[in-house]
């Protein structure tokens, strides 16, 4: 512990990103004319000035060790122009202004084991968060699930065979930090938390925990002579929101924390207003290290989508056109009472018409 006065932080805020942008992109800022997609993983943008910038995109594991980071930088310096962009789905993009550099760059990237792709109508990189690597909350892993699924889906990442782009996401707890997507694989707890009453008063700020419950199912109680919390299990929706502020309320269970699959989330305004994802499958075993059951369901859905959807239809557009009953038919997934949103605010999800396909 130093005797000196602590150093005052420089509260510089968000740094100026322009210094890190490729010079050709900076020069043509706001003056780009059109783009082309010459091959999977490669974009060519042309400005009104005639300048062009080529982008090569490859997948990364998002959480990078120092050796991978350095390797990606080395590739960027030797084969690209030294400018790099991490996309919203944690792919890496190298930008080069000289088209002659594109093929050698692709070869260098591929030689090091990275996979070029993830553009346009491909299955893009699975968006995910920290999981077991660096979060205290999750019921399942993030990177592990992504690795297992991407291994099976890799041909759809490196090619553009889908009707439109497919954004898949994972969430390892029900707070759902992983955003929604065309397909989402999320934890779904099925039992209320198991409470360690001896620890609650030492660890938890009880009023906060009571307030945190979305359905007001938690109340303070004396248990074993100690101040603790109890859960009205008839109200509990098993979301696990009480667990982060109170770890003695253990929600994660090796057997009862399952996976659920949701489809049809779309943030884009193209063709239709943005939509939320909807539940299609649940009760899927949370089965590390490869999660084969969840992966099989995702592949099944992708296969149905690929075979049946028209060009440019995202999964939500496709299902809008064919109807949800047909979706359950072609994927052979069971439709249960849990699929119907059972509260008064959900009326707009009920079918108030005779629009039925036969």
């Amino acid at each position: 512990m130093s005797d000196n006065k602590p150093r005052s932080p420089i509260e510089s805020g968000c740094p100026d990103g322009f210094q890190y942008i490729h010079p050709v992109m900076r020069k043509n800022y706001g003056a780009w004319k059109f783009h082309e997609h010459p091959q999977p993983g490669v974009l060519r943008h042309v400005g009104y000035s005639g300048d062009e910038i080529w982008t090569v995109r490859c997948g990364t594991q998002r959480i990078l060790d120092i050796f991978t980071l350095r390797e990606l930088c080395d590739i960027g310096d030797e084969f690209a122009d030294g400018y790099i962009h991490f996309t919203i789905r944690s792919n890496v993009e190298y930008m080069v202004s000289d088209p002659a550099k594109v093929q050698p760059l692709i070869e260098a990237i591929t030689a090091k084991g990275y996979i070029v792709g993830g553009t346009k109508n491909s299955v893009a990189m699975l968006s995910h968060t920290q999981g077991w690597l660096h979060c205290d909350i999750p019921g399942t892993d993030a990177s592990g699930v992504v690795k297992s699924m991407m291994d099976e889906l890799i041909d759809e990442f490196r090619n553009c065979n889908m009707p439109n782009r497919v954004h898949i996401t994972t969430s390892c707890c029900q707070i759902n930090c992983g955003g929604q997507g065309d397909i989402a694989i999320n934890i779904q707890h099925t039992k209320p938390p198991k409470i360690n009453h001896d620890l609650v008063s030492n660890v938890c700020e009880r009023p906060s925990v009571v307030a945190r419950c979305p359905v007001a199912a938690i109340r303070p109680a004396m248990v074993n002579g100690k101040p603790s919390l109890e859960v009205d299990e008839k109200k509990c929706i098993c979301c696990g929101a009480c667990f982060p502020p109170c770890p003695p309320m253990q929600i994660n269970d090796a057997e009862h924390s399952k996976l659920a699959v949701w489809v049809g989330g779309n943030h884009s305004n193209a063709r239709s207003k943005p939509t939320f994802q909807k539940l299609v499958a649940a009760g899927i075993p949370n089965n590390p290290p490869r999660w084969p059951e969840a992966t099989a369901i995702v592949k099944n859905i992708l296969s149905a989508y690929k075979n049946d959807a028209k060009d440019w239809e995202r999964i939500n557009d496709w299902i809008e056109r064919i109807g949800w009953p047909r979706f359950f038919e072609v994927t052979n997934l069971p439709f249960t009472k849990y699929h119907i949103d059972n509260w008064r605010g959900a009326r707009n999800s009920l079918n108030a018409s005779t629009h039925i396909r036969f």
Binding site: G13, C14, K33, F34, R62, D65, P274
Partner: protein, 313 residues
């Protein structure tokens, strides 16, 4: 720059870094308590700053936008920095009910998912006619051979959500710009032929959020169109953000997101709270329920006519 950060992290931490967190941060994960200060001091010296975790203003995200994309309608990175750097104190000192996120997308494709993942979503758009290069339209059709016309009718003109497109016999495209809702679909399919107009600006939506506690919400339009060109324009944007954050900081319950607060108090009350006038673009349709007390009708209608008169003056 990345190497510099990596070298420092190798010294003090685990060597694992995430590019990037869901709200745009670089995350350096895994370090002992003692080393956190040393690491921060070192990278702070390089020009990096901490923040964006907890009940605070989070770091923001903006799409690649104007640096590469022909569909960009605003200076995404500029807007992002302007906003976030105005709230550096709130980024550093979590003292808000819960998190508040800004996200900026340059067009309604919304590649940053701003509409659902931001409390304040700024999405680029244009107000005038879209630009059509009829020669390029014909090129697209001809490139598909004898099925060209059919393809573009099936996949473009018939997919327009407001039926604003039609293909003439000579393969020129007809656009009913007054009914175009700037969904971007036709521009996405024919990027060489179709482009945003010149009168560019942004649409601002409020209240998007992910699941906890009341479920997912999409943002709601509060500003249908705003120019962001002059310094004054940017000043107004910052002031609006300040109003939104101040009002929510005062009135939000603990752990309540802006969208959840709006659910609880109602959009009309929220608008009053932040000083915005109502606009039909804020709703998909007017109310369906007649059970409301409306004895202030004449006053409210007068406000609308006054605003129209001012706008026309």
């Amino acid at each position: 720059m990345l190497r510099q950060l990596g070298d420092s992290w190798e010294k003090y931490g685990s060597g694992l870094q995430t590019f990037h967190g869901q709200t745009g941060n670089i995350m350096f994960i895994g370090c002992t308590t003692d080393d956190t200060q040393h690491f921060f001091d070192e990278i702070n010296g390089y020009g990096w700053d901490l923040g964006g975790a907890g009940p605070c203003v989070r770091t923001a995200m903006s799409c690649v936008g104007a640096s590469r994309c022909e569909m960009s309608n605003c200076n995404e990175h500029g807007i992002h920095r302007h906003l976030v750097n105005n709230f550096t104190d709130d980024v550093h000192r979590p003292a808000l009910p819960y998190k508040f996120k800004f996200k900026v997308s340059g067009c309604p494709n919304d590649c940053q998912n701003a509409i659902e993942r931001a409390d304040m979503a700024i999405i680029g758009t244009w107000r005038d006619d879209m630009k059509v290069d009829q020669e390029e339209v014909k090129n697209y059709i001809n490139a598909k051979g004898e099925n060209g016309r059919q393809y573009y009718i099936d996949n473009v003109t018939s997919r327009c959500p407001t039926n604003a497109l039609s293909l003439n016999d000579d393969n020129t495209l007809n656009v009913d710009n007054r009914n175009c809702v700037r969904c971007m679909h036709c521009l996405n399919v024919m990027p060489k032929a179709l482009h945003p107009g010149d009168d560019k600006g942004v649409t601002i939506l409020v209240g998007g959020k992910r699941t906890l506690k009341i479920g997912d919400l999409m943002g709601t339009v509060v500003i249908p169109f705003k120019k962001l060109e002059t310094e004054d324009d940017y000043e107004e944007l910052i002031e609006l953000a300040e109003e939104m954050i101040d009002f929510w900081a005062e009135n939000g319950l603990e752990h309540e997101r802006t969208g959840e607060m709006i659910e609880r108090i109602g959009l009309v009350n929220y608008l009053e709270g932040i000083g915005l006038e109502v606009d039909p673009n804020m709703v998909s349709n007017p109310r369906q329920c007649s059970y409301i007390r409306m004895d202030g009708w004449d006053e409210e209608a007068e406000k609308w006519f006054e605003r129209k008169a001012e706008a026309n003056a």
